[in-house]
């Protein structure tokens, strides 16, 4: 199975819009939404049935038994995450606690225990040979990378042998993105022609290069700033990055999305353009081509 991961570095560039179109066009039997902070893919990929839900346990959280606590203050002094406070009694702030266990180990009277904590929920839609894996992180949880790994595991475990999986990635360059990258055969970067978009794209290309993942670029809303679009195209030429094409800004896309449809479900300019990008991307995914290495400096 080849895994195609759709990333952008910056939010709002159109990852989910493009991922949902790709799912439709490829009739993919396996797909996942790794944006566990703000999953949106389920909103436009029709799910005919309720998903199978599983609680996701992140890192455990410390809990202080105030009956046993002798107020020696060792736990508070040794907590690196400032998660223990005292106001007559000692207590743990579950949002700050990372479950490292230092307080538990250092407590002389065994007043502290680590309790499992639900940090989110995994959802699996499996019907008619199609598998869609997604999740929602609980507010304020910090273990999104681990949850991304679980989303991908869940997809794999439920999928019959198939040749293609499409993964809607998470924004940024941090822990969830790094977790999305592991095991991906190719990354399609969705860039937008803004100075911010170019800056973020460079950072995410660097991150992907560290993993040695095959990387290609497409530009969304390319006509909102033609100058910057040219810059991105030149950058791809210079870096030897495969360029997959451009998709115009299209009010029709907003309408489709608000109706819970993908852009290839209606006749619109962005839908026509995304087909070209799709065909090129799939061709590249299933052929070999040299990978960009992290020691190649990136500067526009």
């Amino acid at each position: 199975m080849k895994q195609l991961l759709i990333l952008s570095g910056k939010g709002g560039t159109g990852k989910t819009t493009i991922a949902s179109a790709f799912i439709k066009l490829s009739k993919a039997k396996a797909y996942a939404d790794c944006d566990v902070d703000a999953p949106n893919l389920h909103l436009i990929t029709e799910q005919s049935s309720a998903p199978k839900r599983t609680d996701y346990y992140g890192l455990p959280k410390a809990e202080i038994n105030t009956e046993l606590c002798i107020q020696c203050d060792r736990c508070r002094q040794n907590c690196r995450f400032d998660s223990i406070s005292v106001d007559k009694k000692y207590k743990v702030n579950p949002f700050a606690c990372e479950g490292c266990g230092v307080c538990q180990a250092i407590c002389p009277v065994e007043a502290i225990s680590l309790k499992p904590a639900v940090a989110g929920e995994l959802m699996l839609h499996a019907k008619e040979g199609k598998v869609f894996s997604t999740a929602q992180l609980k507010m304020g949880s910090g273990t999104s990378g681990m949850l991304v790994t679980e989303v991908k595991k869940q997809m794999k475990s439920a999928t019959a042998p198939t040749h293609l999986a499409i993964i809607d990635g998470s924004p940024g360059i941090g822990c969830p993105v790094i977790a999305s990258l592991s095991g991906a055969d190719m990354v399609l970067m969705v860039a937008e022609p803004s100075i911010s978009g170019i800056h973020d794209m460079e950072r995410i290309i660097n991150t992907a290069a560290k993993f040695g993942t095959k990387t290609a670029i497409c530009i969304n809303k390319f006509d909102t700033n033609i100058e910057n679009t040219k810059k991105i195209e030149e950058f791809c030429k210079k870096q030897g990055l495969a360029f997959m094409g451009k998709i115009p800004f299209d009010a029709g896309a907003i309408k489709a999305i608000n109706n819970g449809q993908t852009i290839v479900d209606i006749n619109c300019a962005s839908g026509i353009a995304v087909k070209v990008v799709f065909n090129k991307t799939i061709k590249l995914l299933f052929e070999e081509y040299p990978v960009l290495h992290s020691n190649d400096a990136l500067h526009i």
Binding site: S141, I178, E192
Partner: protein
Amino acid sequence: MKIAVLSGKGGTGKTLVSVNLAAAAKTSTYIDCDIEEPNGHLFFKPENTQEEEITINIPKVDNELCNGCRKCVDFCKFNALAYIKEKLIVFEEVCHSCGGCILFCPEEALTEREKVIGKVQKGTSDQVTVYTGILNTGEASGIPMIKKLLHENTPPSNKLTFIDCPPGSACMVMDSIKDADYCILVAEPTIFGVHNLNMVYELVKLFNKSFGVVLNKCVEGDNPAERFCVEKNIKILSRLPFDSELGILNSNAKIAVRENEKYQALFSSLLEIVQEEVQHETTSHS
């Protein structure tokens, strides 16, 4: 007064709103907490920048002293240590810097060493003081940097501070809004927008923050995000139109209020509304 600008997802216009509010306020502080993808500095192009490296502490092993007892390996909840071929190995990427291994090593074979995870830049742009956190690519957690940005740079309280938050509602966002006096939630007019707005709405409610919504990219016709605000009785602070002129300025990393009177007026009035809201909150709660 600290004002945090947040949204459930990237690309809704957090940076547009926070940068232009900070510029409209003339004398203010702008802190970019979106350290994975900081963009505010691209607009402000700050001058006289000073940089400070941000480090975390990770364990360093003295293999001469290590006797292979594995207490540290067994203790580490993050599997950041392994004892292989009579050598202790540290996997830096997964270490959370809790210090437990160092604390419990009976041979004192472990000490701390500093590892750079990125940098914080400070500079000025007209009368705006600009702080930017930049996390190195490949680093997992930016929490130590957020703490540094927000807690070590406490500007005078009579000054306006704008915090450009990371997207979403995960731990980094919580840290970013912890000390905010007011939160501005930016939302797009799509069903994605509503779904993502709902998440940050839950977050600010949980933290008991006073807040309002800025509807961005408004077009003619139905606005699901607006409907959501009306249903939940959420204060709508402003409706920013979908405007190609603003779009071009913004995509070229220009600060709209410094380029055009029209936008100066638009964001100044938003700033006034926000300040009134905060005043109103403080008087009604005191």
